[in-house]
């Protein structure tokens, strides 16, 4: 019985920690709302553990403790995320505009928490039943005050959209059919070498073992399709600035085997370039060559299945571009306006002042990137020392976001 005693004590400990976290100073309301919900969720777990009878079979008791432990593994990192969202290194100036963007694509009830995280890749937590309507975006701590990387939040927002809109359901059948088609067609000999007793007709049947042989390809193709969609969604929202931020953070890549849940980097870039053409977004010179090839897996079953997943997810790229564009259009998300970008760029470059008018997040960020990429920016301005250039540019971008938000609120007030 000590297992269940331990489980109860673990829950008591996390609830005490939540009480301590509630004492933090929150710069906006949503992290506190999240803590309240998690507090309720862990209290519910306590009551469920309280229902376990002392005479319950071992499998029931163990599983109750195991799920409670699993929930701790799932939610303790979220508590840390919420705590880090209060850190002053976060670009709080960007928060209101990002929240507006999230609410415009996911509904006005959407709650957003942005945090500086200690891993060098942006990420989003999948939506959790116990945090309904929450979007949790983590940005790498050393860059979390750098507004130029905000376009990458577009990719992360794409994951939340993909899940809440259940977009995967649109592609599940196509992916299953695509994988079976590949196995019975181009890849049959490779499959036969792994499973020599197989017949093609087995793949059409409902044998549970046969299905398990191709399930990894299905899972990878579905995850890859989601990633491709998210790149397209980020591109749709932030245009050229998405490509600049993407290259800044990812190129040239690290050596080693490619992650199976993503298209390999060469295909990922090729998809982005194709999508950019369709969305009238300019691809920066040398964008493709900035990235180094990744290593493909060599283990025969993984090699076969991931190559099938690649083929199938590639075949969905056109549909995914259209889906991203149609969804952004339906939600009337502001798209990059070249004239506005040019106007903001001129203010930054010629006058070193933030915008005085209301501007969209995407236009401010694209103007910011255009300045950042300008090698001679402010070289003729003696007051701006070279080592101050990047900081001043970031301040102009962040201040422009604040000004835009003030305009937005002024227009909203009665």
């Amino acid at each position: 019985m000590s297992t269940i005693v331990h489980a109860r004590k673990r829950l008591n400990a996390v609830l005490s920690e939540i009480d301590r976290l509630k004492q933090s100073e929150f710069p906006y309301a949503h992290p506190r709302d999240g803590l309240e919900l998690l507090d309720g969720m862990f209290k519910k777990q306590q009551s469920v553990l309280g229902k376990v009878s002392p005479s319950a079979p071992a499998n029931v008791t163990h599983n109750a403790c195991s799920t409670s432990l699993y929930q701790l593994h799932v939610y303790v990192p979220i508590l840390g995320f919420i705590l880090r969202s209060t850190n002053v290194r976060n670009a709080f100036e960007a928060y209101p505009l990002l929240l507006r963007l999230a609410q415009s694509v996911m509904g006005t009830d959407t709650k957003l928490i942005v945090s500086s995280e200690w891993e060098f890749s942006p990420f989003v937590y999948r939506s959790m039943t116990d945090l309904p309507g929450f979007v949790l975006i983590g940005l790498p701590a050393p860059e979390s005050s750098n507004p130029l990387l905000i376009p990458l939040a577009g990719h992360e927002l794409g994951h939340s959209v993909w899940e809440t809109e259940r977009f995967s359901a649109k592609f599940e059948k196509q992916i299953e059919d695509g994988i079976l088609g590949e196995l019975k067609g181009n890849r049959w000999q490779d499959y036969l070498s792994l499973y020599p007793q197989s017949k093609k007709s087995d793949l059409d049947g409902t044998d549970m073992f046969v299905r398990s042989t191709w399930l990894p390809a299905y899972t990878w193709a579905l995850l890859q399709s989601e990633e491709i969609f998210c790149d397209f969604f980020g591109l749709c929202l932030f245009a050229e600035s998405y490509l600049h931020a993407f290259a800044y953070l990812i190129s040239p890549g690290t050596s080693g085997q490619r992650p199976l849940r993503y298209p390999n980097i060469t295909r990922r870039i090729a998809h982005l370039v194709d999508a950019a053409k369709k969305m009238a977004v300019s691809v920066p010179p040398g964008f493709k060559s900035d990235f180094a090839d990744e290593i493909e897996p060599v283990e025969p079953a993984t090699k076969l299945l991931v190559s099938i997943a690649d083929t199938v997810s590639d075949s969905l790229a056109s549909n995914l571009i259209r889906l991203a564009q149609d969804f952004a259009k339906e939600k009337t998300v502001p798209t990059r306006n070249l004239a506005q970008v040019s106007d903001i760029y001129d203010k930054f470059r010629k006058m070193i002042v933030p915008t005085s008018a209301q501007q969209s997040l995407t236009d401010i960020l694209n103007a910011g990137w255009n300045c950042d990429l300008e090698p001679d920016l402010w070289k003729n301005v003696p007051q701006v020392k070279p080592e101050q250039r990047d900081r001043i540019l970031r301040d102009l971008i962040l201040k422009s976001m604040e000004v835009s938000e003030v305009h937005e609120r002024t227009m909203e007030s009665p």
């Binding site: 469920v48 049947g205 299905y218």
Partner: protein, 152 residues
């Protein structure tokens, strides 16, 4: 929880990546056990799980075999759970699996589970196995994300 969310959950089927599924299935197992030992008559989690299972299987009114409305990953996870719960029976095909899942769904939806203790115990063990199988699947997805190269 908003009413919109409750309403969407009432039509919800089983999905392998549902974050609350391990916990829901575990709670259903506890509640079945309590019903069998007359400790309580709590049915909420049992009914919610029954509803998700029912929404995942399309029955043929003409008497043909049931059809899966689950994605392939969930179907495999369900097969693993059912295989663990029905230790002595072999499940060769999807039809076998859906037949058994339909029977379990019927038990979970029944008015009084304590009237059929053998079937209810099997349903309880299925709930435990489902909870475990979904956790295993979630972990397999999480492991696809590369961890820190020097983290142990």
């Amino acid at each position: 929880m908003s009413s919109e969310l409750v309403s969407s959950q009432s039509n919800q089927g089983l999905r392998a990546l549902d974050p609350d599924l391990p916990f829901l299935a575990s709670e259903a197992a506890i509640d079945i056990d309590n019903l069998l030992s007359n400790r309580s008559k709590e049915l909420t989690a049992i009914r919610r799980l029954a509803s998700r299972l029912n929404n995942s299987i399309k029955l043929d009114t003409a008497g043909g075999p049931p059809r899966s409305l689950m994605d392939p990953a969930m179907l495999t996870v369900l097969g693993e759970a059912m295989g663990e719960a029905l230790k002595n029976q072999s499940l060769q095909t999807v039809e076998d699996l859906l037949d058994e899942a339909t029977k379990i769904a019927k038990v979970l939806s029944s008015e009084d589970l304590s009237q059929s203790p053998v079937e209810s115990k099997q349903a309880r063990d299925f709930c435990v196995a489902l909870s475990r199988a979904v956790m295993v699947y979630h972990k397999s997805i999480r492991d696809l994300r590369p961890s820190h190269p020097f983290r142990r």
